[in-house]
Symmetry: none
Subunit: 221 residues, 4 copies
Amino acid sequence: MLLTVSGTVFRNYTERCSDFNRRLWMSAQDTPVTSPRRQRADARRNTESVLEAAKLAFAESGVDASMRDIAARAGVGVGTIYRSYPQRSDLIIAVFRRELDATAAEADRLRSEYPPAEALRLWAQSLAQFVATKRGFSSALHSGDPAYQPLAGQFLGVLALKVQDILDAGAADGTIRSDIRAEDLIHALSRLADTHPADPDDRAMRMTGVLLDGLISPTSR
Amino acid sequence: MLLTVSGTVFRNYTERCSDFNRRLWMSAQDTPVTSPRRQRADARRNTESVLEAAKLAFAESGVDASMRDIAARAGVGVGTIYRSYPQRSDLIIAVFRRELDATAAEADRLRSEYPPAEALRLWAQSLAQFVATKRGFSSALHSGDPAYQPLAGQFLGVLALKVQDILDAGAADGTIRSDIRAEDLIHALSRLADTHPADPDDRAMRMTGVLLDGLISPTSR
Amino acid sequence: MLLTVSGTVFRNYTERCSDFNRRLWMSAQDTPVTSPRRQRADARRNTESVLEAAKLAFAESGVDASMRDIAARAGVGVGTIYRSYPQRSDLIIAVFRRELDATAAEADRLRSEYPPAEALRLWAQSLAQFVATKRGFSSALHSGDPAYQPLAGQFLGVLALKVQDILDAGAADGTIRSDIRAEDLIHALSRLADTHPADPDDRAMRMTGVLLDGLISPTSR
Amino acid sequence: MLLTVSGTVFRNYTERCSDFNRRLWMSAQDTPVTSPRRQRADARRNTESVLEAAKLAFAESGVDASMRDIAARAGVGVGTIYRSYPQRSDLIIAVFRRELDATAAEADRLRSEYPPAEALRLWAQSLAQFVATKRGFSSALHSGDPAYQPLAGQFLGVLALKVQDILDAGAADGTIRSDIRAEDLIHALSRLADTHPADPDDRAMRMTGVLLDGLISPTSR
DNA sequence: TATGAATGAGGTTTCATTCAT
DNA sequence: GATGAATGAAACCTCATTCAT
């Protein structure tokens, strides 16, 4: 499902979504997602319900959650969702966007308040918490499915920028090795954090710790 | 799909597959999978085609690849697959089994030929190569879906045993930290290695390296 | 197929269909099936086609007719049928419902216009005609398959009520023996009437006549 | 399933089975089924197991019981069944044949020992007992499915002959009405007797009684 | 603009029948 | 003769997506 690769899908995607994505991408450069200039009150209410419903559904069933289910939770018709989010990935992006912004902001804050190595460790925890409540998010991110391309672009674009700052600072003062790019690190961290509820609780955290130990110079541990 | 949880499914599964799994599990203890006493020539040929086709399909589309597709690739009817592998997980296990045996054996060999830290690094590469050609394998392993329980049991059982030996040896001579269990490590390594063809080629290897650096004491790097 | 007996089926059935059945059952008490408040024009058209197609298919191949076949006849997708009738039995009920209402009403009419024995004979012909065009209906009714429980409940509930009135009247004036319950009679009549096109045309009618002769006192024949 | 009507089936049927059926039909005229002149001991043993297994399977699941199931019960391969009984109906006939012969013989015996009306009532009970243990037999008999043509031919041929004698005797002495043919009667009786385990126990017997009351003149009841 | 009915490809699974051994 | 592996059509059902209203 994640991996459907069909000419039609591609074409549809390109045709219909470029607008949505272009808009979103631009906004990603500098500002949080902007609402359309004027939105009818009921439309705004719907948008809100949909996002909330989708968030719950994603948390429970992963990003493959049924659209019908999401629509039902939100108390709207499926068509309403498709109108705002022509692609599933658009919905995913929208759902996670705010929290992601927070996670990105957290990177900024931590960098300014802590030495780089410390900041990195703390931020890894932020990310882990973000991912832990978003089952399937990491898989989607890694799937290579063209439908999730924008997802990867968005998330990595936003986060990598901030995290790279921390890495650079760490490289400058010698506490963090300098041969790892932020994007690769985020990928790895999100992979390690994407555990299943049935997994041992601390596995993610433990292995994340090991990874960071490998990244941070021994003297500053 | 991954998350179907129904009493009936469970019961069916147990009823119908216990033989298959028991046989497989026993064989996992010490020997490669044994063929039935006498197998018709065409049956053997088909078994081979099916495994090969499934391997390709899994590599391309992940472990959720359609049975119909696999059957078509193998040039057999779907029924043929279901006869030998009543559950999807049975097929997955069978497909990956041989290579897994090799990977497990490799762990043994490396342990006897190299110092623990070195052996671990080399073996991580084996695993990475194994996983790299098995898209979705890692996800299935982590999914928590009861259908993949046997998969997790099989693979982790076989591998963790061998890898723990390496870890223990490393703990004994102080080159590997002793607070990480083999199972957690395998999970983490398989997560990091489960990249997409479109991903930068060396990302997996680079991040795996970082993880191992965190695991292996600096003096022995 | 008729005999599938699985907890899951039961549960699913109850969960998903209770609405449909509750609605139907209530309507069975006093009024014909009511349409949903507002039905789209095409939906109404489709509902009609589906019922007509199903009726034909059931007549030709019995109530086990393939859903795909019915959908094709109706010129709709299978999903359309499943949307309105989540279970095969729901469709069967819907198909036969209108005519059944007519048959039940006929019982009322006949009772008020004819002496009981006469009314019974005439009504038996109504039922025979109803059944004759519904191959497999009687078998489904008798199958004991839980899926057809509602079918049996519906039909017998609706018909037995009316027919019992006739029987009671006949018992009162001594023209009909009083030791036979309406439900048993309906069962028997539907059995006898469930003939095959290839059977001699009048077999059903003839044997029905014999049965009624055994039920109606000789003096009033 | 009962009602598959396809050109291919027809053609196959005619081509392959004529021999089997011709042989069987002839034997039906005067003698019980004859075994092939010489049958290997193991073949005879298998034939026996298959018939027994099929009988059980038919009783449990009706005449649509899975061939695989029957073969498994008999401890033989499905091919073995197909060798002896190229068509499902051939197996059904063979399975029920002996008991049917007994039922037919019973008709003879009863006719010679009782007055016609009495004999008819008693025989109806024999038939009811026969049918009661053969779920689906009656439906198959009435299905009109060409595959069951031989079944109908066989059974009705054998039974109707004997029962007609009773009817004729009853017509001669005025105790049984003379306008009903044995074949129609057998059909009707088997219909009424084909109840479901869940049905009220005595429904079949009660309604059969009513039918016979309609057939037997009041003075001789 | 919002709705949800309709679509239909696609999934898994079963099983009567054939045929290589 | 006997076996049971293989076949593959066909069943049921689901759901992402479209589009008439």
